[in-house]
């Protein structure tokens, strides 16, 4: 439940963030720290600004006030050099993949790599194939256009593009939204596996309780314009706030918890 933990390296630090659209205040005095190597899931009711928070951290939405620091650099600093440097430090997977529809999947994954000087085009294309294979897509998917892929494959392709430069931080916006339960569970396993193999820090926005159970090390709850609490699933179950209680004790939450328990039992954990 603590917001700060001095023993671990902070990679994203948000202080006093304020976001406002017209007279509607979305965030007010929001503080959040993300530590190296952890997978943080951000939850919250509709309209609490989960996606706005993600967009603010990656610099797509300038906040009204506050500071956002990623790997020691101020994201809101307008100086281009800092921004350019910072942009190679994270990958973002948007909700529906946000692939460029006029490019094939392979070309989509190559787009971020084109900025790297002195990279041989053949190696670039082969590395794109590797990334496509790492997210679990078949080799032939590389030649397809985004419109020829299913929703789940588009998400995977979007993930491959986000991972193109091996960023240390990965942002995921609703990674399992719109997937069937089997596809969603596969995606959870994929995120978990990749984040371990590539030593990623993952910031994900989700509604999916199963994802929270299966993937996240820590959960941050957005309510009342700020991060109400953050902590592990166990911490969440003890929180007294009405929305948080309803969310983590509702019928769907119990079902997700039961699946998790029964899934763990045969393995003896």
């Amino acid at each position: 439940m603590t917001l700060t933990n001095p023993s671990r390296e902070v990679v994203i630090s948000i202080r006093g963030l304020r976001n406002q659209f017209g007279s509607q205040v979305v965030h007010e005095n929001l503080d959040l720290d993300i530590y190296r190597g952890e997978i943080v899931g951000v939850v919250g009711g509709s309209g609490t600004g989960k996606s706005v928070l993600l967009r603010t951290i990656v610099g797509l939405n300038p906040p009204a006030a506050g500071s956002v620091t990623v790997l020691g650099d101020d994201v809101l600093d307008e100086e281009d050099t800092t921004r350019h440097n910072a942009e190679a430090r994270w990958g973002v997977m948007f909700q529906d993949g946000a692939l460029f529809s006029s490019l094939t999947v392979r070309e989509n994954v190559e787009v971020p790599m084109r900025a790297v000087e002195g990279l041989d085009p053949e190696i670039r294309s082969a590395l794109a194939d590797l990334k496509i294979s790492m997210v679990g897509l078949p080799y032939l998917a590389g030649d397809k256009y985004p419109s020829e892929l299913s929703g789940g494959m588009r998400k995977r392709a979007g993930l491959a593009r986000a991972l193109a430069l091996d960023p240390p931080i990965l942002f995921l916006d609703e990674p399992t939204a719109g997937l069937d339960p089997i596809g969603a569970a596969e995606f959870d396993v994929l995120i978990r596996g990749l984040s371990r193999a590539l030593d990623l820090t993952v910031f994900l926005v989700t509604h999916d309780l199963d994802t929270l159970h299966a993937v996240c090390d820590r959960i941050a709850v957005l309510a009342d314009h700020r991060v109400l609490v953050s902590g592990t699933m166990r911490d969440m179950l003890a929180v007294d706030h009405p929305w948080v209680h309803e969310y983590f004790h509702g019928p769907r939450a119990r079902a997700a918890l039961d699946t998790k328990k029964s899934a763990n039992r045969p393995t003896g954990s």
């Binding site: 790997l71 350019h84 440097n85 190679a88 430090r89 529809s101 006029s102 790599m113 790297v116 000087e117 002195g118 990279l119 041989d120 190696i123 082969a126 590395l127 194939d129 590797l130 990334k131 496509i132 294979s133 790492m134 080799y139 032939l140 985004p146 419109s147 991972l163 430069l165 091996d166 960023p167 240390p168 596996g193 371990r196 193999a197 590539l198 030593d199 990623l200």
Partner: protein
């Protein structure tokens, strides 16, 4: 591993690759960052290793290691083991070791796509395909026209289903709002005709015939043709974009599932609005064209407005106006049907929306010009 990428600022590479042959074994010591900017260099150096003896790769001096480096090493491993030699990777920390394992599992296996060269038969088949596609497209357009007519007939029998508000809205969009551009275009065409005509006719001292030239060419052909082309550019694209984006967001399917008829709601008001407004726009264009021509004739040739009017009434048969105006509703139907049909062909991606929008404008303009040519032949045959 996995620090952020350091962009290469200079040409001095911090990467050090030392290849030493110790006995029958080749030892490669790598020091420095093994990240994407150095992948090409690493791949080149590794490619220079001959696969005729065992290789040992020492990664203990590597400061950073990412998937590109793991990929290069895996490629090398495949090549060396394929030549029946041993390869050993030592000195990799926990991070690089697990990354190597992940990449080894994920190495893509290119599936060869067999490409057969195009034979004459294939080309012929392609040509036939294209012709059949063209015929299917024409049939589809006729089908849409039929749907429009049937819905129109239905709205006469059931007037309550007819969307009168939508019709008025589209009349404003395709007609009223197009008046300024159509008027300006026609005025300038009149000016140009008078100017060019007078320059030629003056050589014969037949300046006064410029009135006939302007009147016949504008009333019979140019007024309505150019108006149709402008409206095709404005409204066919607007129809396609509006219907296409509704198709893209499944609004059309939602309508169908709610028992609403997209043809009745979307096509009929749009096409009918064009049908009503295009003749009016054509009339505006005719008047403005005559005005522009008359003005230029007055300035350039000294043909007074009164003289212009007299000459116009005497020398130009009213049949020219009818020949021009009778084409307007036909062009309107062509533009409307093409626009609506293209909108319904939009798939669920943004790119097809753009493609269909530009295709609808090109098709509409082309079809209007073809129809105009057919009209010309027809009127020439019946001698009007």
């Amino acid at each position: 591993m996995n620090q952020h990428i350091v962009w290469r600022m200079d040409n001095v590479s911090p990467l050090r690759i030392e290849i030493a042959s110790l006995g029958a074994k080749e030892t490669v010591a790598v020091r420095g960052p093994l990240t994407l900017p150095y992948a090409t260099e690493l791949a080149e150096r590794m490619g220079s290793l001959t696969a005729d003896r065992p290789v040992c790769i020492d990664l203990s001096g590597v400061t950073r290691f990412d998937t590109s480096a793991a990929w290069v090493l895996m490629k090398l491993q495949h090549r060396i083991t394929a030549a029946d030699q041993d390869i050993e990777i030592i000195g990799a920390g926990d991070g690089p070791a697990s990354l190597l394992k992940t990449v080894a599992l994920a190495m893509p296996h290119p599936t060869d796509v067999v490409r057969t060269p195009l034979a004459l038969v294939d080309r012929l088949a392609g040509l036939g395909e294209a012709v059949a596609g063209g015929i299917r497209f024409l049939l589809a357009l006729i089908g849409y026209f039929g749907v429009f007519l049937s819905r129109l007939a239905r709205s006469i029998r059931h007037p309550s289903e007819f969307r009168f508000t939508a019709l008025v809205h589209h009349c404003e969009e395709v007609g009223f709002k197009a008046v300024p551009i159509v008027a300006l275009m026609a005025f300038l065409i009149g000016v140009v005709l008078a100017f060019q005509g007078s320059a030629q006719l003056r050589q014969f001292g037949a300046e006064v015939f410029v009135v006939d030239l302007i009147a016949i060419s504008i009333l019979r052909e140019l007024g309505i043709l150019l108006t149709s082309i402008i409206v095709a550019g404005r409204s066919a694209s607007a129809f396609t974009a509006a219907i296409g984006s509704m198709k893209m967001r499944e609004e059309i399917d939602a309508m169908r599932s709610l028992g609403l008829d997209p043809a009745m709601i979307l096509f009929v008001p749009r096409i009918l609005a064009l049908f009503i407004m295009l003749p009016i726009l054509g009339l505006v264009a005719n008047l403005m064209g005559l005005l522009g021509g008359g003005l230029m004739a007055w300035v350039e040739l000294g043909i007074s407005p009164a003289m212009f009017a007299t000459r116009l009434v005497d020398g130009t048969d009213v049949s020219h106006v009818f020949v021009g105006m009778i084409k307007a509703p036909v062009f309107a139907l062509i533009i409307g049907v093409v626009g609506c049909h293209a909108g319904m062909q939009v798939k669920s991606n943004a790119e097809s929306l753009g493609q269909m929008t530009s295709a609808s404008v090109v098709t509409a303009i082309f079809a209007v010009i073809v129809a105009d040519a057919l009209f010309s032949i027809f009127f020439a045959q019946i001698g009007v």
